[in-house]
Structure formats: C-alpha cells, structure tokens
C-alpha cells in the first residue's frame, strides 16, 4: 500500500514536471509562430514538420499547445495563489478565533460553495469584460472555500494542542503562534488542496475559454482550441485530440499528486 501511494505521487509529479518543462520552454522557444497563418497548409495531418499537425488556419498545433500550456499553468498558479492567500486569511481567522467569527465566515464560505462553480465563474467573467485576468480572479475565488476549510480545520485541531498552549505560556504573540506553531502542521493538507485546486483551475479555464469567455483569440488556449476544432472533428481529429489530451494529462497529473500525498499523509496519522 505504502508503495502504491508513493507511486501515484511520483507518477503525478512526473507528468507535471513534463508539462511544466514544456510550459517553461515555451517562454523561450516555440517551433513556429503561434499566430502565423498558412492557408495553403491548413489541416495538415501530423508529420515531421508539424508534429501535431496544423489547424484550420494552417497554424502549428504543437506550438499552440505549448503556448497554451503556459497560459494554463499561469492561470492555475495565479488562481491557487489567490485561493491560498484569501483562504488562509479567512480560514486562519475563523479557526483561531472560533465562536461567532467562525460562524459568520464559514456560512459565507458555505454560500460560495453551494453556488455551482462554473456558473459563478461565468457570472464573474461576464460582469466584468471577459479576459484572461478576470478569468484568473474568478477561478481563484472559486478555490477559496477549499483552502479556507482545510486551514480552519487545521487550526481547530492544533490551536489548543499542548505545545501551542505551552508556546503561548511563554509569551508567544498571536502571529508567532499562527505562523510558527500552527501553520507548519497544516502544510501537507494545504499542498494536497493546492494540487487539487490547480487541476480544477485548469479545467475551469478550459471550460470558460471553450465558451469564449476566457482567453481571447487569437491567443491559444486548450479550451479555445477544442471549441475551434469542433467543426473539423471528422476531417482532422488530431486538431481536437492534442488539446484534449493535454487537458486530461494535466488534470490527471495534479490529481494523482494530490491523492498520493493525501494517502501518504493519512497513513502517517
């Protein structure tokens, strides 16, 4: 069993590392200009020149998938950061203070959670003008409840632990207690939450872009590429396959990592 969760985690990490490297490389180099059209060479099947073929405008799909992976990771990172910071503030306040502060904050979080996520993101994005920045904020807001809950329950578990009371007994300030004595114990559930939120973020970004609300043309995004490929699904299946596989792989990678970490942690306790 031990080896199975370790294996799961390693596999997840390997997939993420591969995709992460691809995203990093795309910052410096992509084989073709992602927006360079070539009407003569449209819908070419995969080959030595165009590994994943070309799209309906003759653009290189491999380059576009690479470029889009950068966007996906950016959205994931920004969204997770927003979720983590806001979730920490809300969760730590609720968990540390308890009482009615906790009641009020957690009811708010429940309300946010009760709302269908994608619908909320749609509203947030359409209220403001649809672009990448709004998308990242909307997705970040969606991941707040997850972090807030994990952090809050960690505080409930540890704030009256004997070593925390002992630290307070030596005059430790609230900040010291929170950051030095409680937070280090919640790091691993937070990492689990972060990796699951990351995969959700990428999925939601793809969905929003698919609906035309996330990344705006001509910039590439896996979701947009999927929606553009729809009319050519019979003629050029590789067009849909590439972004689809990449979305699936990324989500799989982060989920494997998260699950593996969680199993390892559960086993330890």
């Amino acid at each position: 069993m031990e080896s199975k969760s370790t294996l799961t985690m390693r596999l997840g990490l390997a997939i993420i590392a591969l995709l992460g490297t691809m995203a990093a490389v795309s910052l410096l180099y992509v084989p073709y200009d992602v927006n360079e059209m070539n009407i003569a060479g449209r819908l070419q099947s995969p080959g030595a020149l165009h590994w994943f073929g070309t799209d309906n405008f003759g653009r290189d799909i491999f380059s576009r998938v690479m470029e889009a992976s950068k966007t996906a990771f950016l959205v994931g990172a920004v969204a997770v950061t927003i979720g983590l910071v806001a979730g920490f503030i809300i969760g730590a306040t609720a968990g540390y203070l308890g009482g009615w502060t906790d009641e009020v904050l957690m009811r708010m979080i429940d309300a946010l959670l009760a709302f269908p996520g994608i619908l909320l993101a749609l509203i947030l994005v359409t209220v403001f003008e649809p672009n990448l920045f709004q998308t990242m904020i909307a997705i970040g807001v969606l991941s707040v409840p997850n972090f807030a809950r994990v952090i809050r329950s960690g505080f409930f578990q540890y704030k009256e632990a004997e070593f925390v009371v002992a630290a307070r007994g030596l005059g430790a300030s609230h900040a010291t207690v929170i950051l030095r004595h409680v937070m280090p114990h919640i790091v691993s559930p937070i990492i689990v939450a972060a990796s699951l939120s990351f995969s959700t973020a990428i999925l939601v970004e793809a969905a929003l872009s698919y609906l035309g609300l996330g990344v705006q043309p001509p910039d590439p995004s896996w979701g947009r590429m999927l929606s553009e490929s729809q009319s050519y699904i019979g003629k050029a299946p590789w067009f849909a396959l590439a972004p689809g596989v990449f979305i699936a792989l990324t989500v799989l990678g982060f989920n494997l990592l998260g699950d593996g970490l969680r199993d390892l942690r559960d086993k330890k306790t």
Binding site: V164, V165, A166, G169, R180
Partner: protein, 358 residues
C-alpha cells in the same frame, strides 16, 4: 516510604525556614510583602452552561516558596493553573474573584500585558513532555524563542544562555541537544528541556502541572531534585501540582488539597501530614502505599468524584464520606482556619456538625 520519613524528621526538628513566614493565610485585600501570587475567591466557569469548574479558590504563594496542590483526576488542578496563566481553553472562562502576581492584578490586565508576563514573570510546565514541545522545531529554536522575545538577546547570547540552562537541568552534551528535534529525546530529557525553556528567563513563578506523572520513578526523583535546586539557587516560587502526596511531602512547603473544584484543606506540609482533618485528605493519606503494609490491599476512597452536574447543595465529598450527617447534605461547609495556617472545609472538623449530631 523515604519521603514520609523526611517530613517526620522535618516535623520533629523544625527549622526556621521561609515556610514559617508564610504560614499565615492573609485576609482578602491584604497584601503581604512576601506574597508573590495571590488567588482570592477565584472561580472558573464553563462558558456554555455557566457551571463552575472551580470555585472559591483562595491560595497564596510566597516568594521562594513551593506550594503543592493535590487532588484526584478531574478536580480542577489544571484549570486552576491555566487560569493563573491566562491560558484557559476556549470552552472555559474566568468567573469572579481576583488574581494577583506581584501585587498586579491579572484580572484587570489586558491580553497584551498578560502575554508580556508569561515566560518572563510566570511560566508553566506541563504533564506530558511528549506533547508539550513543538515537533517541527529544534530544541534550540524553541529555547531561544523566549530569550529573544523577553530578554532581547541576540543569536549567540541566546544560544549560550540556552546551553547554560540545559546544563543546569542536568542534560549532558547540551550543544548537541540544541540542534535535535523533540522526537530524538527521551521523556525525561524532554521534561528537562521543558524546565529549561520555562526557567531560562528567570520567572518569579513556575507552575508545574504534574511534571513527573508521565515519567518513571528514577527520572521523577531527578526532575524533582532539579526543581528543588533551582528554587534554592534562584528563589523561584513553584506551584507544584501532583496527585502524589509522597512527592508533595518531599518537595513542598505548603499544600492545598483540592476536591471537586474546591480547596478542602490547606496548611504547611507538617500541619497536613501530622493532623489531617478533612476525611478526603485522610483518605488520600491512607491510600499511599507503605512498605509495612506489603501484601495488603491498597486502600482506595470508595466512590468517584461527582461530575459538574452532580454537585449538590451540600458538601461535595458527602457522597463518599463515612461520617456524613444530615447537615453535610444540605449545606456547604466553609474553609475555616484551624490554627496556624491550617484551614479545613468540613463540618466534622468545625464543631457545627457535633451540634447537629446531638
């Protein structure tokens, strides 16, 4: 038991010591020069139901004095010590009464003021050395935390002082211990580390909540020795909590016996061990194992401590007391002086009971 012979010896040849000066119970409001900690009519309630967990607690700890608190599990010893430190769990809150350290009211002090006193003027060590150290920080990090905070020491000075205190508690190779994590140390070593952490800023008051309960007898004796020595050297006052009367007799100058949230008897160790008056104290003493009674069944006080909900109008001990009379069921006896610093909460000892009987 050697501990018992000790107090007998002490009782036979009384030596003029710090105890003599403190053996009087000051009246409410009065302030004694030698008084370090004063607890007056203190109660602590459960927040949700307002039921008192401890009530009417009167206790004084003089400078350089070691005061013991004994009582069965659940009688409120930890709640009392946590309330002094301002560290009550969130389910409990201070009720009425007064708490003073060095003449300064802890009741009226702000959270910030109390926090600045913790570690510097009063410290606490806990029952279980396995859980009272942070597993994610090294011993050095935990030891220097309060040195930096209270004494504003820099990295090197703090380290040197930490090493000094680890050595004072009898730990070998203190430099190596500084960089180890709690799980690498044994229970006895951890408790020494806890003592070093609690005392390194030289607080006037140390509250030790059953510091040796989780340790074996040899280590227990060594830890007690460390505490005793530090009291001699630093004049640290110690509030020592235990359920072991033998340990109390060995270490303490004065002792308070707690039962179901109240003090039922208090006095100097001599007074209490020579002439225990409350049936609960007598029962506790009878249940100390003695070598000459080897082979016989250990005495145990019948029954159990009444829970918070089962405390009636009358004496709390009444349901377990062999001498309980009608008045014991109806009225709560007061803690009355019995000469010297001896005070007892019992009708049996106070004479009222005798009137009722005839």
């Amino acid at each position: 038991m050697p501990l018992l012979t000790d107090w007998v010896k002490k009782a036979i040849e009384p030596e003029p010591s710090s105890q003599q000066r403190n053996c009087r119970l000051p009246e409410a409001g009065e302030r004694d020069e030698d008084e370090l900690l004063a607890v007056r009519n203190l109660s602590v309630n459960v927040k949700s139901s307002s039921r008192p967990v401890i009530e009417g607690i009167d206790l004084t700890v003089g400078r350089g004095e070691i005061v013991g608190i004994v009582g069965e599990s659940g009688c409120g010893k930890s709640v009392l010590s946590l309330s002094i430190m301002g560290l009550l769990p969130s389910a409990l809150k201070l009720g009425g009464g007064e708490l003073r350290l060095n003449g300064q009211s802890l009741h009226q002090a702000s959270q910030r003021q109390i926090r600045s006193m913790r570690g510097k003027h009063m410290s606490m060590i806990f029952q279980d050395p396995m859980t009272s150290l942070n597993p994610t920080l090294t011993i050095g990090e935990q030891l220097t935390e309060s040195l930096r905070l209270h004494l504003k020491l820099g990295g090197r000075e703090a380290r040197e002082r930490a090493v000094l205190w680890l050595r004072r508690t009898g730990l070998p190779r203190p430099e190596a211990i500084l960089s180890s994590y709690p799980h690498q140390l044994s229970g006895g070593m951890r408790q020494r580390v806890m003592i070093a952490i609690a005392l390194c800023c030289e607080p006037e008051l140390l509250i030790a909540d059953e510091p040796t309960t989780a340790l074996d007898v040899t280590i227990q004796a060594q830890i007690l020795d460390v505490l005793f020595r530090i009291r001699e050297e630093e004049q640290t006052s110690i509030l020592f909590i235990s359920h072991d009367l033998g340990v109390i007799a060995e270490l303490c100058d004065r002792v308070a016996v707690m039962y179901a949230g109240q003090i039922v008897e208090q006095g100097t160790v001599e007074e209490l061990f020579e002439s225990p008056q409350h049936p609960y104290t007598i029962g506790l003493m009878k249940s100390i194992p003695k070598p000459e009674k080897k082979g016989m069944r250990l005495y145990a006080i019948p029954g159990t401590v009444p829970s918070l909900h089962d405390r009636g109008e009358g004496c709390r001990f009444q349901s377990r007391c062999a001498h309980a009379a009608a008045i014991c069921l109806d009225a709560m006896p007061a803690l009355e002086h019995r000469g010297g610093s001896h005070a007892v909460r019992c009708f049996l000892a106070s004479g009222e009971r005798r009137e009722m009987d005839v």
